[in-house]
């Protein structure tokens, strides 16, 4: 009885949202799936800021109160997504790479619910859009600062999983450090987790013991900065995903801030006024999705000026962080002089650039 009522009402709601979709909607229910806790101070925190911005922007016209934290990437995600779709969500944002298959699988069953998958590349159904930010642009600026600031000529990068997104960041970081400091060596540690503060701290510690004095991280917590802080200024790092200003001015000397608010507002707005269409969004510094957090006084004025100039050049479109000549790790040519990397190459990136040591785990 309960079950039937639920299904009927769900079907009714789907039918409603289906008709309303073409002509705009009076009220949109936007739902969010998070891979970590909102209080992680990084990745998930920023997505939640985007959700709050949607509420701020549309007020009564949107119900964005539904979100689920700590959703594992896998079968559980499919369950959560199905539950959300059944409960009347019109648009669901799935905010981690690992939800890719679950998002597409559930989208097939609910053609009238819009799915937005962050950092993925599969759009198997017309109601699945993907969105990402060009974080590698921010990594270029971090690499520049790292190359200039390192005293040991050893810089580190804590990777999460060997996916194009992260490899892109490593390459961009290394290339720009190498450009200003040819002697620089890069150490990469794969943590195989997005969020495990103790492990992230241990990874940073292992690097510091090997003489690394600039640490960039691609995991979600502030733990690497906390570990770097123990070195009393000898080791610096960067805020990742969120500003992490609590660790400024040192060890956090700058940061990459993910700013999802403009995109979330745009998409929910499009659904409200009926202009919504499937999309593959990939904005960067120019679009305001990637912000460079304040560069602190721990960085010399000269380096800061250079870093800001690079940021402005990227924003203006006059500089692309992957501009040839760039060779792959095995020495084969990737980009010819003056050529910039096509997006397709970046989104499927599975190789290190020349000079990075070690292998990418398969």
């Amino acid at each position: 009885m309960m079950r039937r009522t639920l299904l009927t009402s769900a079907a009714l709601m789907l039918a409603l949202s289906g008709t309303a979709f073409a002509a705009g909607m009076d009220k949109v229910k936007a739902c969010f799936v998070y891979v970590g806790p909102v209080g992680d101070g990084g990745w998930t925190f920023q997505h939640d800021q985007g959700r709050l911005a949607v509420i701020e922007a549309f007020g009564d016209k949107v119900d964005a109160s539904t979100y689920q934290e700590n959703v594992p990437e896998g079968a559980d995600a499919e369950r959560v997504l199905t539950q959300m779709a059944l409960s009347g969500c019109n648009i669901i944002f799935t905010t981690s790479f690992g939800y890719m298959d679950a998002t597409n699988a559930v989208a097939a069953k609910f053609p009238n619910v819009m799915f937005e998958h962050a950092t993925g590349y599969k759009r198997e159904h017309t109601n699945v859009s993907t969105y990402n930010a060009r974080f590698y642009e921010g990594r270029a600026i971090q690499g520049h600062i790292a190359g200039k600031m390192t005293k040991s000529n050893k810089i580190g990068y804590i990777g999460s999983f060997p996916i194009p997104e992260v490899i892109m960041g490593i390459n961009s970081y290394y290339l720009h450090a190498k450009k200003v400091n040819p002697a620089v060596e890069l150490t990469v540690i794969w943590a195989y987790t997005w969020f495990d503060p103790a492990k992230e701290a241990d990874a940073a510690k292992a690097m510091i013991e090997q003489g690394v004095d600039v640490i960039a991280s691609h995991t979600d917590s502030t733990a690497p900065l906390a570990e770097a802080a123990k070195a009393n200024g000898a080791v610096i790092g960067f805020g990742q995903a969120s500003d992490m200003a609590a660790y400024a001015p040192s060890p956090r000397v700058s940061s990459i801030i993910d700013n999802w608010a403009p995109y979330y507002i745009k998409r929910v707005g499009a659904l409200l006024d009926g202009t919504y269409a499937q999309a593959d969004a990939w904005e960067g510094i120019a679009g305001g999705e990637v912000l460079i957090g304040d560069i602190t006084e721990a960085v010399s004025a000269e380096v800061k000026t250079e870093a800001l100039a690079m940021r402005d050049a990227i924003a203006a479109g006059t500089y692309h962080p992957f501009t040839g000549p760039i060779n792959k790790q095995d020495g084969s040519a990737w980009l010819a002089a003056g050529q910039t990397a096509p997006d397709g190459d970046l989104l499927g990136m599975a190789f290190y650039v020349e000079g990075v040591t070690g292998d990418i785990p398969q």
Partner: protein, 311 residues
């Protein structure tokens, strides 16, 4: 002093000692609980409660010592909830323990709301003076914060109490056969409540070590599954205190070693390195249980059974 492409073994051993403290403390607490015949699967929940309470206490007072005390209180308080539910209200231990973990994770997140992004007062290494300057040995033995030594002392104390004292004998009797212990006039419920509280206190202390020393900050879900590893270590250790120390060092050691090997650029596939702690734990568990007579002889006979005094 270098091997394996530039890893200093003294530094490695020193960092594995630090990395192992939380799981070691949580595991020794759980060992006492299980020796009294109670299976508390809520270690993860008690650890994270200790982490947040310890953090709050340390930030509030500016003293790491008070912080560790706060961790003990936080973990023990949650353990008491478990104790009341399972010992007095006779709830199922497995279900209650799992619920305790979920409850602890949620409650800690709530308590921790105001503490995100704050730095706790630093816990410094004990001043051993010239001893700390002995090559290699100084780095390994005389360059830690007090908790590293306290955790080893706790292992020794638990071992001594279980082996040599009347209290230990009574605790073990309750864990082996609560009916017989009850018939002899021992207060089974009271003894178990004490053991559960001790287990919670140790888990809380381990949690506080994570939030105050290992990762000196508070973030949601900071324990990230270490409580479950502690539970596995108790089985791995066959309910013997010193083996808890070995198990914790083994697990902590391998997880630190694999990160260090990566940092040193060792040419070993990362996938195997990341798997290695779990693989070796499984391997050792298999080796232990290959001798079934010994393995089952060590498990407390009344483990996980509900006690209700009918007579």
């Amino acid at each position: 002093m270098d091997f394996l492409g530039g890893i200093n073994p003294a530094v490695l051993i020193a960092s594995l000692m630090v990395a192992s403290v939380p799981i070691m403390l949580a595991a020794i607490g759980e060992l006492v609980v299980e020796r009294s015949g109670v299976l508390n699967l809520g270690v993860e929940g008690m650890m994270i409660m200790g982490a947040v309470c310890g953090f709050a206490a340390a930030v509030g007072t500016g003293s790491p010592a008070v912080g560790f005390l706060g961790g003990i209180v936080g973990g023990a308080a949650l353990a008491l909830v478990f104790g009341v539910l399972t010992q007095i209200l006779l709830a199922n231990q497995v279900a209650t323990g799992l619920a305790l973990t979920l409850f602890g994770l949620g409650l800690s997140s709530l308590i921790g709301q105001g503490y995100v992004g704050i730095k706790p007062p630093p816990t410094t290494a004990l001043p051993f003076g010239p001893l700390a300057d002995i090559p290699a040995l100084g780095r390994i033995l005389f360059n830690h914060d007090a908790m590293v030594y306290i955790s080893i002392a706790i292992i020794a104390a638990v071992w001594a109490v279980l082996r040599f004292t009347r209290t230990g004998l009574v605790l073990r009797a309750v864990g082996e056969n609560h009916e017989a212990a009850h018939a002899l006039g021992y207060k089974v419920v009271r003894i178990r409540m004490a053991a559960i509280t001790f287990g919670g206190a140790m888990a809380g202390l381990g949690g506080a070590y994570i939030s105050l020393v290992r990762v000196p900050q508070w973030v949601d879900g900071i324990t990230a599954g270490q409580g479950w590893i502690a539970l596995a270590i108790v089985v791995f250790a066959a309910w013997k205190p010193w083996r808890v120390l070995i198990g914790a060092y083994l697990f902590g050691g391998i997880s630190v070693l694999q990160l260090n090997l990566q940092a040193a650029g060792a040419r070993i596939p990362v996938e195997y390195l990341s798997m290695s702690p779990y693989l070796i734990t499984i391997l050792v568990l298999v080796l232990i249980s290959a001798n079934p007579k010994r393995a089952s002889a060590n498990a407390p006979a009344a483990l996980g059974k509900t006690f209700h005094a009918t007579r």
